[in-house]
Amino acid sequence: MVHLLTALGYLLPALALLAVLACRRYPGERALVAAIEERRRGSLMRSVRIGAPRVRPRALLPRGGRLIASSLAVRPPPALPALH
Protein backbone atom coordinates (compact mmCIF):
# COMPACT_ATOMS: atom_id res chain seq x y z
CA MET A 1 0.00 0.00 0.00
CA VAL A 2 2.87 2.33 0.83
CA HIS A 3 4.48 1.50 -2.49
CA LEU A 4 1.21 2.13 -4.28
CA LEU A 5 0.91 5.54 -2.68
CA THR A 6 4.50 6.32 -3.56
CA ALA A 7 3.83 5.40 -7.16
CA LEU A 8 0.69 7.50 -7.19
CA GLY A 9 2.70 10.41 -5.86
CA TYR A 10 4.79 10.29 -9.01
CA LEU A 11 1.99 9.61 -11.43
CA LEU A 12 -0.56 12.00 -10.01
CA PRO A 13 0.18 14.85 -12.46
CA ALA A 14 -0.34 12.53 -15.42
CA LEU A 15 -3.50 11.07 -13.88
CA ALA A 16 -4.91 14.50 -13.12
CA LEU A 17 -4.28 15.69 -16.65
CA LEU A 18 -5.82 12.57 -18.07
CA ALA A 19 -8.89 12.92 -15.89
CA VAL A 20 -9.41 16.44 -17.18
CA LEU A 21 -9.03 15.39 -20.81
CA ALA A 22 -11.27 12.35 -20.33
CA CYS A 23 -14.00 14.79 -19.31
CA ARG A 24 -13.45 16.52 -22.64
CA ARG A 25 -12.10 19.60 -20.97
CA TYR A 26 -9.15 21.33 -22.52
CA PRO A 27 -8.26 24.02 -19.99
CA GLY A 28 -6.87 27.18 -21.54
CA GLU A 29 -7.61 25.95 -25.03
CA ARG A 30 -9.28 29.15 -26.23
CA ALA A 31 -6.42 31.31 -25.08
CA LEU A 32 -3.87 29.05 -26.77
CA VAL A 33 -5.80 28.92 -30.04
CA ALA A 34 -6.19 32.67 -30.00
CA ALA A 35 -2.47 33.08 -29.34
CA ILE A 36 -1.58 30.79 -32.25
CA GLU A 37 -3.90 32.58 -34.65
CA GLU A 38 -2.71 35.98 -33.54
CA ARG A 39 0.86 34.84 -33.95
CA ARG A 40 0.11 33.49 -37.41
CA ARG A 41 -1.52 36.75 -38.44
CA GLY A 42 1.42 38.69 -37.06
CA SER A 43 3.94 36.59 -38.91
CA LEU A 44 1.89 36.93 -42.10
CA MET A 45 1.89 40.72 -41.75
CA ARG A 46 5.62 40.71 -41.11
CA SER A 47 6.27 38.58 -44.14
CA VAL A 48 4.19 40.96 -46.25
CA ARG A 49 6.18 43.91 -44.91
CA ILE A 50 9.47 42.12 -45.47
CA GLY A 51 8.44 41.03 -48.94
CA ALA A 52 7.40 44.55 -50.04
CA PRO A 53 10.21 46.67 -51.44
CA ARG A 54 10.94 49.79 -49.46
CA VAL A 55 11.81 51.86 -52.54
CA ARG A 56 10.02 51.40 -55.78
CA PRO A 57 12.55 50.35 -58.40
CA ARG A 58 13.32 52.94 -61.01
CA ALA A 59 13.39 51.52 -64.47
CA LEU A 60 16.23 52.97 -66.50
CA LEU A 61 14.94 54.72 -69.57
CA PRO A 62 16.88 54.05 -72.70
CA ARG A 63 18.75 57.05 -74.00
CA GLY A 64 20.79 57.96 -77.03
CA GLY A 65 21.48 55.21 -79.51
CA ARG A 66 19.59 52.65 -77.41
CA LEU A 67 16.49 54.88 -77.50
CA ILE A 68 16.68 55.12 -81.30
CA ALA A 69 17.31 51.41 -81.63
CA SER A 70 14.41 50.56 -79.30
CA SER A 71 12.10 52.83 -81.24
CA LEU A 72 13.01 51.58 -84.67
CA ALA A 73 13.77 47.92 -84.13
CA VAL A 74 11.19 45.23 -84.76
CA ARG A 75 12.80 43.28 -81.94
CA PRO A 76 14.34 45.83 -79.54
CA PRO A 77 17.32 45.06 -77.30
CA PRO A 78 16.54 43.76 -73.83
CA ALA A 79 15.46 46.31 -71.25
CA LEU A 80 18.04 47.66 -68.87
CA PRO A 81 17.96 46.27 -65.33
CA ALA A 82 16.01 48.33 -62.84
CA LEU A 83 17.81 50.24 -60.12
CA HIS A 84 16.77 49.57 -56.56
Partner: protein, 485 residues
Protein backbone atom coordinates in the same frame (compact mmCIF):
# COMPACT_ATOMS: atom_id res chain seq x y z
CA UNK B 1 6.58 17.01 -45.88
CA UNK B 2 6.83 13.28 -45.06
CA UNK B 3 3.20 12.77 -44.15
CA UNK B 4 0.12 13.89 -45.99
CA UNK B 5 -3.29 14.06 -44.41
CA UNK B 6 -5.10 10.78 -44.81
CA UNK B 7 -8.88 10.83 -44.76
CA UNK B 8 -10.44 7.93 -42.92
CA UNK B 9 -13.81 6.55 -42.04
CA UNK B 10 -16.00 9.36 -40.94
CA UNK B 11 -18.79 7.28 -39.53
CA UNK B 12 -17.06 6.68 -36.23
CA UNK B 13 -17.97 8.78 -33.27
CA UNK B 14 -15.35 10.26 -31.01
CA UNK B 15 -16.75 9.11 -27.71
CA UNK B 16 -15.74 5.42 -27.88
CA UNK B 17 -12.21 6.36 -28.88
CA UNK B 18 -11.99 8.78 -26.02
CA UNK B 19 -13.35 6.28 -23.58
CA UNK B 20 -10.93 3.65 -24.82
CA UNK B 21 -8.03 6.05 -24.40
CA UNK B 22 -9.09 6.93 -20.90
CA UNK B 23 -9.67 3.32 -19.90
CA UNK B 24 -6.34 2.26 -21.36
CA UNK B 25 -4.51 5.00 -19.51
CA UNK B 26 -6.08 4.19 -16.17
CA UNK B 27 -5.28 0.50 -16.68
CA UNK B 28 -1.71 1.31 -17.60
CA UNK B 29 -1.12 3.65 -14.74
CA UNK B 30 -2.58 1.19 -12.25
CA UNK B 31 -0.52 -1.55 -13.87
CA UNK B 32 2.62 0.50 -13.71
CA UNK B 33 1.87 1.27 -10.05
CA UNK B 34 2.30 -2.42 -9.42
CA UNK B 35 5.53 -2.60 -11.35
CA UNK B 36 8.77 -1.28 -9.88
CA UNK B 37 8.84 -0.01 -6.38
CA UNK B 38 12.54 0.24 -6.16
CA UNK B 39 15.16 -0.29 -8.74
CA UNK B 40 18.80 -1.06 -8.48
CA UNK B 41 19.51 -1.85 -12.06
CA UNK B 42 22.88 -1.00 -13.44
CA UNK B 43 23.05 2.63 -14.22
CA UNK B 44 21.50 3.57 -10.92
CA UNK B 45 23.23 3.14 -7.64
CA UNK B 46 24.07 4.91 -4.48
CA UNK B 47 21.92 7.16 -2.35
CA UNK B 48 21.41 10.74 -3.33
CA UNK B 49 20.83 13.30 -0.63
CA UNK B 50 18.03 15.38 -2.09
CA UNK B 51 16.74 18.59 -0.58
CA UNK B 52 13.10 17.68 -1.34
CA UNK B 53 11.25 14.38 -1.71
CA UNK B 54 11.98 12.69 -5.02
CA UNK B 55 8.33 12.66 -6.06
CA UNK B 56 8.39 16.45 -6.03
CA UNK B 57 10.84 16.25 -8.91
CA UNK B 58 8.16 14.45 -10.91
CA UNK B 59 5.71 17.24 -10.10
CA UNK B 60 8.25 19.88 -11.00
CA UNK B 61 8.99 18.07 -14.26
CA UNK B 62 5.27 17.98 -15.03
CA UNK B 63 5.05 21.72 -14.41
CA UNK B 64 8.02 22.30 -16.71
CA UNK B 65 6.30 20.27 -19.41
CA UNK B 66 3.01 22.13 -19.02
CA UNK B 67 4.81 25.48 -19.19
CA UNK B 68 6.72 24.26 -22.26
CA UNK B 69 3.43 23.21 -23.82
CA UNK B 70 1.96 26.67 -23.27
CA UNK B 71 5.06 28.42 -24.57
CA UNK B 72 5.21 26.20 -27.64
CA UNK B 73 1.57 26.87 -28.39
CA UNK B 74 1.93 30.61 -28.05
CA UNK B 75 5.39 31.18 -29.51
CA UNK B 76 5.64 28.45 -32.16
CA UNK B 77 2.91 29.09 -34.69
CA UNK B 78 4.38 27.62 -37.88
CA UNK B 79 6.07 24.26 -38.58
CA UNK B 80 9.84 24.63 -38.43
CA UNK B 81 11.13 21.08 -38.21
CA UNK B 82 9.34 19.38 -41.08
CA UNK B 83 12.12 19.74 -43.60
CA UNK B 84 15.85 19.27 -43.32
CA UNK B 85 17.94 22.18 -44.48
CA UNK B 86 21.60 21.25 -44.50
CA UNK B 87 24.51 23.61 -44.93
CA UNK B 88 27.87 22.35 -46.07
CA UNK B 89 30.40 23.06 -43.32
CA UNK B 90 33.58 21.59 -44.80
CA UNK B 91 34.85 18.82 -47.00
CA UNK B 92 35.29 15.38 -45.56
CA UNK B 93 38.70 14.03 -46.54
CA UNK B 94 38.29 10.87 -48.60
CA UNK B 95 41.00 9.14 -46.61
CA UNK B 96 39.02 9.36 -43.36
CA UNK B 97 36.36 6.86 -44.41
CA UNK B 98 38.70 3.90 -44.98
CA UNK B 99 40.71 4.95 -41.95
CA UNK B 100 37.61 4.90 -39.75
CA UNK B 101 36.60 1.55 -41.21
CA UNK B 102 40.07 0.16 -40.45
CA UNK B 103 39.81 1.35 -36.84
CA UNK B 104 36.39 -0.28 -36.53
CA UNK B 105 37.71 -3.53 -37.96
CA UNK B 106 40.75 -3.45 -35.65
CA UNK B 107 38.52 -3.01 -32.60
CA UNK B 108 36.31 -5.83 -33.80
CA UNK B 109 39.36 -8.07 -34.20
CA UNK B 110 40.43 -7.15 -30.67
CA UNK B 111 37.02 -8.18 -29.34
CA UNK B 112 37.31 -11.55 -31.04
CA UNK B 113 40.90 -12.06 -29.90
CA UNK B 114 40.19 -11.03 -26.29
CA UNK B 115 37.09 -13.17 -26.25
CA UNK B 116 38.83 -16.36 -27.27
CA UNK B 117 42.30 -15.84 -25.85
CA UNK B 118 41.64 -13.67 -22.77
CA UNK B 119 40.70 -14.63 -19.26
CA UNK B 120 37.11 -15.52 -18.58
CA UNK B 121 36.58 -12.99 -15.79
CA UNK B 122 34.16 -10.30 -16.85
CA UNK B 123 36.05 -7.54 -15.01
CA UNK B 124 39.48 -8.46 -16.33
CA UNK B 125 38.48 -9.13 -19.92
CA UNK B 126 38.08 -6.30 -22.43
CA UNK B 127 34.91 -7.64 -24.06
CA UNK B 128 32.08 -7.23 -21.50
CA UNK B 129 33.00 -3.63 -20.67
CA UNK B 130 33.64 -2.69 -24.28
CA UNK B 131 30.45 -4.28 -25.61
CA UNK B 132 27.98 -3.48 -22.82
CA UNK B 133 29.28 -0.05 -21.80
CA UNK B 134 31.25 1.60 -24.60
CA UNK B 135 29.46 0.09 -27.57
CA UNK B 136 25.92 -0.30 -26.23
CA UNK B 137 25.78 2.93 -24.21
CA UNK B 138 28.61 5.22 -25.29
CA UNK B 139 28.07 5.01 -29.04
CA UNK B 140 24.34 5.87 -29.10
CA UNK B 141 24.73 8.70 -26.61
CA UNK B 142 27.62 10.24 -28.53
CA UNK B 143 25.71 9.77 -31.80
CA UNK B 144 23.05 12.15 -30.53
CA UNK B 145 25.74 14.80 -30.18
CA UNK B 146 28.05 14.16 -33.12
CA UNK B 147 25.68 12.54 -35.59
CA UNK B 148 25.77 9.05 -37.01
CA UNK B 149 29.53 8.57 -36.73
CA UNK B 150 29.28 4.81 -36.20
CA UNK B 151 28.40 4.36 -39.86
CA UNK B 152 32.00 5.19 -40.80
CA UNK B 153 33.43 2.89 -38.11
CA UNK B 154 31.01 -0.01 -38.56
CA UNK B 155 33.22 -3.11 -38.89
CA UNK B 156 30.71 -5.10 -40.93
CA UNK B 157 30.14 -2.24 -43.34
CA UNK B 158 33.88 -1.67 -43.60
CA UNK B 159 34.44 -5.37 -44.22
CA UNK B 160 31.80 -5.46 -46.96
CA UNK B 161 33.12 -2.28 -48.59
CA UNK B 162 36.67 -3.63 -48.49
CA UNK B 163 35.51 -6.88 -50.10
CA UNK B 164 33.62 -4.91 -52.73
CA UNK B 165 36.66 -2.73 -53.44
CA UNK B 166 39.00 -5.72 -53.73
CA UNK B 167 36.51 -7.51 -55.96
CA UNK B 168 36.27 -4.47 -58.22
CA UNK B 169 40.10 -4.36 -58.49
CA UNK B 170 40.10 -7.99 -59.51
CA UNK B 171 37.39 -7.37 -62.08
CA UNK B 172 34.67 -9.10 -60.06
CA UNK B 173 31.65 -6.85 -59.76
CA UNK B 174 28.97 -7.96 -57.32
CA UNK B 175 25.49 -6.58 -57.57
CA UNK B 176 22.92 -7.20 -54.87
CA UNK B 177 20.42 -9.68 -56.32
CA UNK B 178 17.49 -8.52 -54.19
CA UNK B 179 15.91 -5.18 -53.48
CA UNK B 180 15.07 -4.48 -49.86
CA UNK B 181 11.36 -5.19 -49.34
CA UNK B 182 9.24 -2.37 -48.00
CA UNK B 183 7.32 -4.62 -45.64
CA UNK B 184 10.55 -5.52 -43.85
CA UNK B 185 11.23 -1.88 -43.03
CA UNK B 186 12.88 -1.48 -39.62
CA UNK B 187 11.87 -4.88 -38.29
CA UNK B 188 15.38 -6.39 -38.50
CA UNK B 189 16.60 -3.56 -36.25
CA UNK B 190 13.76 -4.24 -33.80
CA UNK B 191 14.56 -7.95 -33.74
CA UNK B 192 18.28 -7.33 -33.33
CA UNK B 193 17.80 -4.90 -30.45
CA UNK B 194 15.44 -7.27 -28.68
CA UNK B 195 17.94 -10.08 -29.07
CA UNK B 196 20.78 -7.94 -27.71
CA UNK B 197 18.62 -6.69 -24.83
CA UNK B 198 17.71 -10.26 -23.98
CA UNK B 199 21.39 -11.16 -23.96
CA UNK B 200 22.32 -8.19 -21.79
CA UNK B 201 19.45 -8.19 -19.33
CA UNK B 202 18.20 -11.73 -19.11
CA UNK B 203 20.68 -14.35 -20.27
CA UNK B 204 22.65 -15.78 -17.34
CA UNK B 205 25.98 -16.31 -19.09
CA UNK B 206 26.06 -12.86 -20.71
CA UNK B 207 29.51 -11.90 -19.39
CA UNK B 208 31.26 -14.91 -20.90
CA UNK B 209 33.91 -13.37 -23.22
CA UNK B 210 34.18 -16.35 -25.55
CA UNK B 211 30.41 -16.37 -25.98
CA UNK B 212 30.47 -12.65 -26.78
CA UNK B 213 33.19 -13.25 -29.35
CA UNK B 214 31.22 -16.07 -30.96
CA UNK B 215 28.07 -13.96 -31.09
CA UNK B 216 30.04 -11.07 -32.59
CA UNK B 217 31.31 -13.34 -35.34
CA UNK B 218 27.82 -14.67 -35.94
CA UNK B 219 26.51 -11.13 -36.21
CA UNK B 220 29.28 -10.20 -38.64
CA UNK B 221 28.36 -13.18 -40.80
CA UNK B 222 24.69 -12.26 -40.72
CA UNK B 223 25.46 -8.69 -41.71
CA UNK B 224 27.71 -9.74 -44.57
CA UNK B 225 25.04 -12.07 -45.92
CA UNK B 226 22.44 -9.31 -45.65
CA UNK B 227 24.68 -6.80 -47.41
CA UNK B 228 25.49 -9.30 -50.15
CA UNK B 229 21.80 -9.91 -50.76
CA UNK B 230 20.36 -6.40 -50.40
CA UNK B 231 23.29 -4.06 -50.93
CA UNK B 232 25.75 -2.59 -48.47
CA UNK B 233 24.11 0.75 -47.82
CA UNK B 234 20.54 -0.54 -47.90
CA UNK B 235 21.26 -3.25 -45.35
CA UNK B 236 23.50 -1.04 -43.20
CA UNK B 237 20.70 1.45 -42.79
CA UNK B 238 17.80 -0.90 -42.26
CA UNK B 239 19.06 -4.38 -41.50
CA UNK B 240 21.91 -3.63 -39.10
CA UNK B 241 20.40 -3.47 -35.62
CA UNK B 242 23.17 -1.36 -34.16
CA UNK B 243 23.62 0.84 -37.20
CA UNK B 244 19.87 1.49 -37.27
CA UNK B 245 19.76 2.23 -33.53
CA UNK B 246 22.76 4.54 -33.50
CA UNK B 247 21.62 6.19 -36.73
CA UNK B 248 18.23 6.91 -35.17
CA UNK B 249 19.86 8.80 -32.29
CA UNK B 250 22.19 10.43 -34.82
CA UNK B 251 19.14 12.17 -36.27
CA UNK B 252 18.93 14.21 -33.08
CA UNK B 253 22.25 15.81 -33.89
CA UNK B 254 22.98 18.97 -35.83
CA UNK B 255 25.75 17.24 -37.79
CA UNK B 256 25.68 14.85 -40.72
CA UNK B 257 28.36 13.37 -42.93
CA UNK B 258 27.52 12.37 -46.49
CA UNK B 259 28.64 13.13 -50.01
CA UNK B 260 32.19 13.57 -48.76
CA UNK B 261 31.30 16.60 -46.66
CA UNK B 262 30.33 17.56 -43.15
CA UNK B 263 26.90 19.18 -43.08
CA UNK B 264 25.21 21.33 -40.47
CA UNK B 265 21.49 21.20 -39.90
CA UNK B 266 18.94 22.24 -37.32
CA UNK B 267 19.02 19.73 -34.41
CA UNK B 268 15.99 17.39 -34.36
CA UNK B 269 15.02 18.35 -37.91
CA UNK B 270 16.35 15.09 -39.36
CA UNK B 271 13.71 13.23 -37.38
CA UNK B 272 10.91 14.67 -39.50
CA UNK B 273 11.25 11.97 -42.14
CA UNK B 274 11.23 9.16 -39.58
CA UNK B 275 8.17 7.03 -38.99
CA UNK B 276 6.78 6.25 -42.40
CA UNK B 277 8.53 2.90 -42.72
CA UNK B 278 7.22 -0.39 -41.48
CA UNK B 279 8.50 -1.14 -37.97
CA UNK B 280 9.55 2.45 -37.27
CA UNK B 281 7.04 2.89 -34.46
CA UNK B 282 7.94 -0.46 -32.96
CA UNK B 283 11.62 0.41 -32.97
CA UNK B 284 11.34 3.51 -30.87
CA UNK B 285 8.86 1.89 -28.49
CA UNK B 286 11.16 -1.10 -28.04
CA UNK B 287 14.09 1.18 -27.23
CA UNK B 288 12.09 2.81 -24.43
CA UNK B 289 10.65 -0.53 -23.31
CA UNK B 290 14.06 -2.16 -23.00
CA UNK B 291 15.30 0.65 -20.78
CA UNK B 292 12.11 0.54 -18.75
CA UNK B 293 12.54 -3.15 -18.11
CA UNK B 294 16.17 -2.65 -17.19
CA UNK B 295 15.11 -0.13 -14.57
CA UNK B 296 12.20 -2.17 -13.33
CA UNK B 297 13.80 -5.61 -13.30
CA UNK B 298 15.27 -5.15 -9.86
CA UNK B 299 12.22 -3.58 -8.30
CA UNK B 300 10.60 -5.03 -5.21
CA UNK B 301 7.41 -6.06 -6.96
CA UNK B 302 9.13 -7.78 -9.84
CA UNK B 303 11.48 -9.52 -7.42
CA UNK B 304 8.45 -10.66 -5.48
CA UNK B 305 6.46 -11.69 -8.51
CA UNK B 306 9.27 -13.16 -10.56
CA UNK B 307 9.96 -16.21 -8.33
CA UNK B 308 6.31 -17.24 -8.64
CA UNK B 309 6.49 -17.04 -12.42
CA UNK B 310 9.78 -18.87 -12.36
CA UNK B 311 8.43 -21.63 -10.15
CA UNK B 312 5.53 -22.03 -12.55
CA UNK B 313 7.94 -22.77 -15.37
CA UNK B 314 10.11 -24.88 -13.08
CA UNK B 315 7.03 -26.93 -12.38
CA UNK B 316 6.76 -27.64 -16.08
CA UNK B 317 10.07 -29.45 -15.90
CA UNK B 318 12.42 -26.65 -16.89
CA UNK B 319 15.66 -26.05 -15.01
CA UNK B 320 16.31 -23.09 -12.76
CA UNK B 321 18.14 -20.96 -15.33
CA UNK B 322 15.73 -21.47 -18.24
CA UNK B 323 12.69 -20.83 -16.07
CA UNK B 324 14.32 -17.71 -14.67
CA UNK B 325 15.10 -16.48 -18.16
CA UNK B 326 11.59 -17.18 -19.39
CA UNK B 327 10.12 -15.28 -16.44
CA UNK B 328 12.35 -12.29 -17.15
CA UNK B 329 11.52 -12.50 -20.84
CA UNK B 330 7.87 -12.13 -19.91
CA UNK B 331 8.84 -9.11 -17.83
CA UNK B 332 10.57 -7.58 -20.83
CA UNK B 333 7.49 -8.13 -22.97
CA UNK B 334 5.34 -6.60 -20.23
CA UNK B 335 7.56 -3.52 -19.99
CA UNK B 336 7.37 -2.99 -23.74
CA UNK B 337 3.60 -3.48 -23.57
CA UNK B 338 3.34 -0.75 -20.91
CA UNK B 339 5.33 1.65 -23.11
CA UNK B 340 3.22 0.78 -26.15
CA UNK B 341 0.11 1.40 -24.06
CA UNK B 342 1.35 4.83 -22.95
CA UNK B 343 1.89 5.84 -26.55
CA UNK B 344 -1.39 4.37 -27.66
CA UNK B 345 -3.20 6.51 -25.09
CA UNK B 346 -1.83 9.59 -26.80
CA UNK B 347 -2.67 8.27 -30.25
CA UNK B 348 -6.24 7.35 -29.30
CA UNK B 349 -6.63 10.75 -27.67
CA UNK B 350 -5.46 12.49 -30.84
CA UNK B 351 -7.82 10.28 -32.82
CA UNK B 352 -10.66 11.61 -30.70
CA UNK B 353 -9.77 15.16 -31.74
CA UNK B 354 -10.23 14.66 -35.45
CA UNK B 355 -11.75 11.80 -37.41
CA UNK B 356 -9.69 12.66 -40.48
CA UNK B 357 -6.78 10.49 -39.38
CA UNK B 358 -6.80 6.89 -38.32
CA UNK B 359 -4.83 5.60 -35.36
CA UNK B 360 -2.20 3.78 -37.39
CA UNK B 361 -1.40 6.86 -39.42
CA UNK B 362 -1.24 9.01 -36.31
CA UNK B 363 1.01 6.49 -34.58
CA UNK B 364 3.46 6.61 -37.46
CA UNK B 365 3.22 10.33 -37.93
CA UNK B 366 4.10 11.11 -34.32
CA UNK B 367 6.56 8.26 -33.75
CA UNK B 368 9.56 10.53 -34.22
CA UNK B 369 8.50 12.52 -31.16
CA UNK B 370 9.46 9.52 -29.02
CA UNK B 371 13.06 9.45 -30.21
CA UNK B 372 14.24 12.21 -27.81
CA UNK B 373 12.39 10.36 -25.04
CA UNK B 374 14.20 7.16 -25.91
CA UNK B 375 17.46 9.05 -25.82
CA UNK B 376 16.56 10.64 -22.49
CA UNK B 377 15.68 7.26 -21.02
CA UNK B 378 18.97 5.76 -22.19
CA UNK B 379 21.00 8.72 -20.96
CA UNK B 380 19.25 8.92 -17.60
CA UNK B 381 19.34 5.21 -17.02
CA UNK B 382 22.90 4.47 -18.12
CA UNK B 383 24.65 7.70 -17.21
CA UNK B 384 26.22 6.40 -14.03
CA UNK B 385 27.21 3.17 -15.76
CA UNK B 386 28.98 5.16 -18.43
CA UNK B 387 30.81 7.58 -16.14
CA UNK B 388 31.80 4.92 -13.62
CA UNK B 389 32.18 1.59 -15.39
CA UNK B 390 33.25 3.37 -18.58
CA UNK B 391 36.47 4.37 -16.84
CA UNK B 392 37.45 0.71 -16.74
CA UNK B 393 38.19 0.83 -20.45
CA UNK B 394 41.29 2.86 -19.50
CA UNK B 395 43.03 -0.07 -17.86
CA UNK B 396 41.38 -2.72 -20.03
CA UNK B 397 42.87 -1.10 -23.14
CA UNK B 398 46.33 -1.74 -21.73
CA UNK B 399 45.50 -5.26 -20.66
CA UNK B 400 42.63 -6.44 -22.87
CA UNK B 401 43.19 -10.14 -22.30
CA UNK B 402 43.71 -9.88 -18.57
CA UNK B 403 47.15 -11.46 -18.81
CA UNK B 404 48.95 -8.64 -17.02
CA UNK B 405 50.23 -6.64 -20.01
CA UNK B 406 50.54 -2.85 -19.93
CA UNK B 407 50.57 -1.65 -23.55
CA UNK B 408 49.72 2.00 -22.88
CA UNK B 409 50.96 2.35 -19.32
CA UNK B 410 47.39 2.60 -18.00
CA UNK B 411 46.99 -0.88 -16.57
CA UNK B 412 47.25 0.49 -13.04
CA UNK B 413 44.30 2.85 -13.49
CA UNK B 414 41.19 2.19 -11.49
CA UNK B 415 37.60 3.38 -11.43
CA UNK B 416 37.21 6.64 -9.55
CA UNK B 417 33.75 6.56 -8.01
CA UNK B 418 34.22 10.05 -6.61
CA UNK B 419 34.24 11.42 -10.15
CA UNK B 420 30.58 12.30 -9.70
CA UNK B 421 28.37 11.63 -6.70
CA UNK B 422 24.93 10.10 -6.51
CA UNK B 423 23.27 13.47 -6.06
CA UNK B 424 25.01 14.82 -9.15
CA UNK B 425 23.92 11.78 -11.12
CA UNK B 426 20.34 12.26 -9.97
CA UNK B 427 20.31 15.85 -11.21
CA UNK B 428 21.79 14.80 -14.55
CA UNK B 429 19.11 12.13 -14.85
CA UNK B 430 16.30 14.55 -14.06
CA UNK B 431 17.69 17.14 -16.49
CA UNK B 432 18.03 14.50 -19.21
CA UNK B 433 14.47 13.28 -18.76
CA UNK B 434 12.93 16.74 -18.69
CA UNK B 435 14.96 18.00 -21.66
CA UNK B 436 14.18 14.90 -23.70
CA UNK B 437 10.48 15.21 -23.07
CA UNK B 438 10.44 18.93 -23.84
CA UNK B 439 12.13 18.12 -27.17
CA UNK B 440 9.51 15.42 -27.78
CA UNK B 441 6.79 17.93 -27.04
CA UNK B 442 8.33 20.44 -29.46
CA UNK B 443 8.48 17.83 -32.22
CA UNK B 444 4.89 16.79 -31.58
CA UNK B 445 3.72 20.41 -31.61
CA UNK B 446 5.55 21.03 -34.87
CA UNK B 447 4.01 17.95 -36.48
CA UNK B 448 0.56 18.91 -35.22
CA UNK B 449 0.85 22.34 -36.83
CA UNK B 450 1.76 20.67 -40.12
CA UNK B 451 -0.95 18.03 -39.82
CA UNK B 452 -4.12 19.69 -38.57
CA UNK B 453 -6.00 22.29 -40.52
CA UNK B 454 -7.20 24.33 -37.59
CA UNK B 455 -5.28 25.64 -34.63
CA UNK B 456 -7.97 24.25 -32.35
CA UNK B 457 -7.39 20.67 -33.53
CA UNK B 458 -3.64 21.09 -33.29
CA UNK B 459 -3.83 22.37 -29.73
CA UNK B 460 -6.30 19.69 -28.63
CA UNK B 461 -4.17 16.93 -30.11
CA UNK B 462 -1.18 18.22 -28.18
CA UNK B 463 -3.02 18.05 -24.88
CA UNK B 464 -2.96 14.29 -25.42
CA UNK B 465 0.70 14.24 -26.28
CA UNK B 466 1.26 16.25 -23.11
CA UNK B 467 -0.32 13.40 -21.14
CA UNK B 468 2.04 10.96 -22.84
CA UNK B 469 5.07 13.11 -22.08
CA UNK B 470 4.11 13.72 -18.45
CA UNK B 471 3.39 10.01 -18.05
CA UNK B 472 6.74 8.96 -19.50
CA UNK B 473 8.58 11.55 -17.39
CA UNK B 474 6.88 10.40 -14.21
CA UNK B 475 7.55 6.76 -15.03
CA UNK B 476 11.20 7.46 -15.79
CA UNK B 477 11.74 9.47 -12.61
CA UNK B 478 9.97 6.87 -10.55
CA UNK B 479 12.21 4.13 -11.91
CA UNK B 480 15.32 6.19 -11.29
CA UNK B 481 14.36 7.55 -7.91
CA UNK B 482 13.67 4.22 -6.30
CA UNK B 483 17.32 3.68 -5.53
CA UNK B 484 18.50 7.24 -5.40
CA UNK B 485 16.23 7.85 -2.46
Amino acid sequence: MPFSPMPTRRGRTRAPTLRRAAALTVALLIGSCLWPLSASAHGISGRASLPVPAWLFAWAAAIVLVVSFVLLSTMWSRPRLQEVHERRACNWPALLTPLAGAIGLALFALVIYAGYDGVSGSKENFDPTFIFVIFWVGVPLSSAVFGDWFRAFSPWRACARAAHWIGARLGLRWRAPLSYPDWLGRWPVVAGLLAFAWLELIYHDRDNPSLLASLSLAYLTLMLVGMALFGIEQWSERGDAFGGYFGLFGRLSGFAVHDRALWLRRPLSALSSYGSESGAVALVLVIIGITTFDGASNGVVWNTLQPHVQSFFSGLGLGDSPSDEIADSLGLVLAIAVVVGFYWVGVLGMRSVSARFDTRWLARSFAHTLVPIGFAYVLAHYFSLLVWQGQAIGYLASDPLGHGTDYFGTAHWHVNYNFIGSTGIWYVEVAALVTGHVCGLALAHDRALATYRSAEEAVRSQYWMLVVMVGFTSLGLWLLSAVNT
